[in-house]
Assembly symmetry: C2
Homo-oligomer: 396 residues x 2
Amino acid sequence: MALAEIGALPGGGVDRQALSPGETEAWRLVIAWGADAGMEPSTDPAGNLFLTLPGRDRALPPLVMGSHLDTQPTGGKFDGAFGVLAALEAAQSLGAIPARDVTVVAWMNEEGSRFAPGMMGSEAFAGVRPLDDILAAGDAAGTTVAEALAALHAAFPAIPRRPLGFPIGFYLEPHIEQGPVLEQRHAPIGIVTGIQGKKTWEMVVQGQEGHAGTLDMADRHDALAAFARMADAMFREVGTTDSIIKLTIGLVRMEPNAPSVVPARLTFRIDLRHPDNAVLDAAGERLEVLAATHAPPCTVQVRRLVDAPSNDFDPGLRACIAAAAEALGHAAMPILSAAGHDARHMAPLCPAAMIFIPCRDGVSHAEHEWAEPAHVAAGAAVLAEVAAGLVLEPAA
Amino acid sequence: MALAEIGALPGGGVDRQALSPGETEAWRLVIAWGADAGMEPSTDPAGNLFLTLPGRDRALPPLVMGSHLDTQPTGGKFDGAFGVLAALEAAQSLGAIPARDVTVVAWMNEEGSRFAPGMMGSEAFAGVRPLDDILAAGDAAGTTVAEALAALHAAFPAIPRRPLGFPIGFYLEPHIEQGPVLEQRHAPIGIVTGIQGKKTWEMVVQGQEGHAGTLDMADRHDALAAFARMADAMFREVGTTDSIIKLTIGLVRMEPNAPSVVPARLTFRIDLRHPDNAVLDAAGERLEVLAATHAPPCTVQVRRLVDAPSNDFDPGLRACIAAAAEALGHAAMPILSAAGHDARHMAPLCPAAMIFIPCRDGVSHAEHEWAEPAHVAAGAAVLAEVAAGLVLEPAA
């Protein structure tokens, strides 16, 4: 709740954009909490934040746990923040010097709302995307990641830098489910089996501006009319696929966007998800065909942004989570993650897994996003139990 | 060209929004030009600017001529500006004291791009819309007309105020055609018969935001998906009406407008025009039905903004324009105005008419809008000839 005051919105939600003054303030708060628990802050060239509880053998690759501190423009209190704070709590509660370093992480720009696409910090760390590409990305005001990151880093001049991609022993990410399944099944713990595949595009419909009162319909190159044809056809198309495919056109920018001017240009983003990679690929191809088919007399530029297939999390860690939940008396169930998470990019580097807790009515990316305190505590306790099992000697 | 430097855009166009610092600068320039010609500036509570050349009998209602100084966000050099400057030129060129006052007018916010809908100044003057409604309208940044107008008036403290709706003897408005007809017919002068009818709406599609990766399509209230259905259906509908109906959705605002959030709300503006009032009314009703039909599971709020039927200009003044064009050797033809103009609101108050000149390729509301100097001169000369006929004694 203290963290949610940073970027608080009147409706109870949070607007804390990546690399914003709000994120600077959030760093300050969690660094202070980490310091109270004997944890050392560090960062890397991609703006990821690490808080490390030193272990006995500092040469061993650390146990890394966490999530992200940025939110959607009208986001909630739990998406991302729960993962970072549960990790901090789990590290603090170990009660003994761990066998290896235990590092809490807050990945840079998971949400992708200020700078697109998201998961920039984990992508850079894992080498999925070149750092230079990420640093060059700009927000709507023209500020680049490089500029915003320099401002963030300048606020913390004393914090040491680590390289991208340092070795990791294990990775654990706690998160709210962002869907209704755990709540409906009365299971406070979700053992995440994997993350559904996701593709995103930016498409630009180029038409020609003109006067709304004088230009004949037959002579128009109306970017909005072409977009309406495309978007309607795309929604109809996915409607015939199956009930679990998900299509979102979440961002639209029109130019010049004046009431009596025929729109000259419309830029939009598509987000398509499905757990079956073959279905996802086929649907993605059909969307590209529909864009090309419905564009004339306008033209359309199609740029693929994200192409992330489905993945499976580590079976050993999933078994540890199941055992910890059972030991603590919390009902648990396997669940597929419909949302993307930074853990996607850690899974190829080391054994990785995720722990989900329920959120009310499955609502997320919204101001009234909510998780019950009992579920928050259960998730943090299971994480702490798994962490203790990984880094503490069994009691004699 | 000097006026077009105020708000000049890199592509050759002009962005000079109503009641902006740019309009303040434009007032300063035309007031100075008017002063050089012995004209007295005044304004009214709606922010209209008047420059008056005093006549012999100041009790007679004046001849008023002009147009507007504001532009679209990516507008051209001629739309509006030509009318004001041609009127200034015609008044200057009379060469004798006129029988009655000759007043050049620049109406406030004709374009309606910063504050919607447009023609606020002439509507307030004619009593078509209450001044309080107009003063309360806000721009995208939340600034009201009242606030922006106070700033404009504060820049000209010495200028006297006149009441709204003072009596007018005759009204003449020169303007570029904003369509291709005069250019195609090689006629430098268009004698405007009337203005086609126009209806505008603001519609707000209300859905529910949610996570793009987790919320099942069947459970979504996606404001963009509903809008795409509506907009596509509306364009198909007008496509079956006739070839001269015109439908534009020129402005779209989506919230929260983030790539991985299901859109919660989409606000858009519709502009519908047709010269036949019965066709316009019927098509307008069908658009409202389509909005309601395609909204579910979202809801739609429908607000009518402008409902302006077609009108006819004064036959006597049209005959004067024809005679003046013939006397000066400029080919002239009758033409219907497809675009709306402030003259629409003067026509019920006094004999009113409009003079059109060609613009290149019929393009307007665009940076490359252009009118040939010869046509600009012809339009101003015909206006001056008509004005002289109305306010000067015939030579003995």
